[in-house]
């Protein structure tokens, strides 16, 4: 693929960067990314990836736009209320960058979006609002060896975890949050959330995705992404990072499970600490 004149202008701020450049932009244009959930996280994620020229985006969300969404879900307008989010998002994103190809699923994420036998995605982004969907994505991405970028928010707090399953199979989301924990009592619907906290977390998901996609191009490092839990506290504007350790009895990536993808991401404890 070569960039045409318009693409040169549109992506000029990428092309100016030594570690993106023409080769990196071509990589992005050939990339396939699945965005699961088009709420407060999925909106900024989809906007930034579309703007960046991530060439093939698949969007998945079962819901219609509701008036209560507009406080934070920045893809939608008042006129969209009652319409499927995927349809409204598609109109807005196509207007932003018509060279991106989109697939949409107005459904809860499942086998039809991410089949057991294999799926053609370079990165999956978890922008869902419940643990059941998050754990389903974790299992499937782990199985398929697809990197998973998972974020969440509530109130003034945000959280981000990136699992680079293409380069290392452990740890996984279930090492940090047990699969059988059920849903917490507090959610955005009953406890509220600050819109820009979702914007911060969604922007970070988009950054993590671009980094994952660009790994190995232009001599960029191809090391596995470090498995960290990052917490953002919007009331103090502070970040805290925690190392996620592989749990030996983890039902998804634990010792009884066959090792299928690459090596252990787990690093020496002392090395990890220094990098935190």
């Amino acid at each position: 693929m070569t960039l045409d004149r318009d693409a040169f202008m549109r992506y000029s701020r990428h092309l100016l960067m030594a570690d993106v450049g023409e080769q990196g932009q071509e990589t992005l244009l050939e990339s396939r990314v699945l965005v699961v959930g088009l709420g407060g996280l999925g909106c900024p994620v989809a906007l930034y990836l579309t703007a960046a020229g991530v060439g093939h985006l698949t969007l998945c969300d079962p819901d219609n736009v509701d008036l209560t969404n507009l406080q934070r879900q920045i893809l939608y307008t008042e006129a969209d209320c009652g319409e499927p989010k995927v349809d409204c998002a598609l109109v807005a994103l196509r207007a932003l960058n018509p060279s991106v190809t989109f697939n949409t699923h107005c459904a809860v994420v499942g086998d039809s979006v991410l089949p057991e036998g294999g799926a053609d995605f370079d990165v999956v982004i978890d922008c869902t609002d419940n643990l059941a969907a998050r754990h389903w994505l974790n299992r499937r991405c782990h199985e398929l060896g697809i990197p998973l970028v998972s974020a969440a928010a509530l109130g003034w707090e945000g959280q981000l975890m990136t699992f680079d399953f293409a380069r290392g199979s452990r740890p996984c989301l279930a090492c940090a949050i047990p699969e059988d924990a059920g849903e917490p009592l507090a959610n955005c619907g009953n406890s509220g959330v600050i819109g820009p906290v979702l914007g911060v977390m969604g922007s970070l998901q988009a950054i993590a995705t671009l980094r994952l996609l660009l790994k190995g191009t232009n001599g960029a490092d191809n090391e596995p992404y470090r498995p960290l839990l990052q917490r953002f506290d919007g009331r103090r504007e502070t970040w805290t990072r925690f190392a996620i350790r592989p749990v030996s009895q983890c039902p998804v990536c634990g010792d009884e499970q066959p090792e299928t993808h690459g090596n252990d991401i787990h690093q020496d404890k002392n090395t990890e600490r220094k990098q935190l």
Partner: protein, 83 residues
């Protein structure tokens, strides 16, 4: 003495983000510590015992049977799952 950190909503419930705690000898694991802290009040006990709460020692996520040491920093993180 250990340093206990309550993140986000847990800090609101505990009335402090940070607390220095001297722990009796029989309190060894982070789960023991959670039960000890929960003696302060029903609301904190309930919030700390939600099954999705995470716990970290010196910025490493650990399991609930992890044995902490003197001078450790133990952080409790309330669940955040919205999107």
């Amino acid at each position: 003495m250990i340093k206990v950190l309550f993140f986000g909503r847990l800090g609101d419930i505990a009335g402090a983000e940070e607390r220095k705690v001297s722990v009796p000898e029989q309190v060894r694991t982070v789960d023991d510590l959670r039960q000890l802290l929960g003696e302060d009040g029903e609301a904190l006990a309930k919030a700390l015992n939600e099954p999705q709460v995470m716990v970290a020692v010196n910025q490493d996520l650990v399991e609930w049977d992890h044995v902490f040491e003197d001078e450790d920093e133990v952080a409790f993180l309330p669940p955040v799952t919205g999107g």
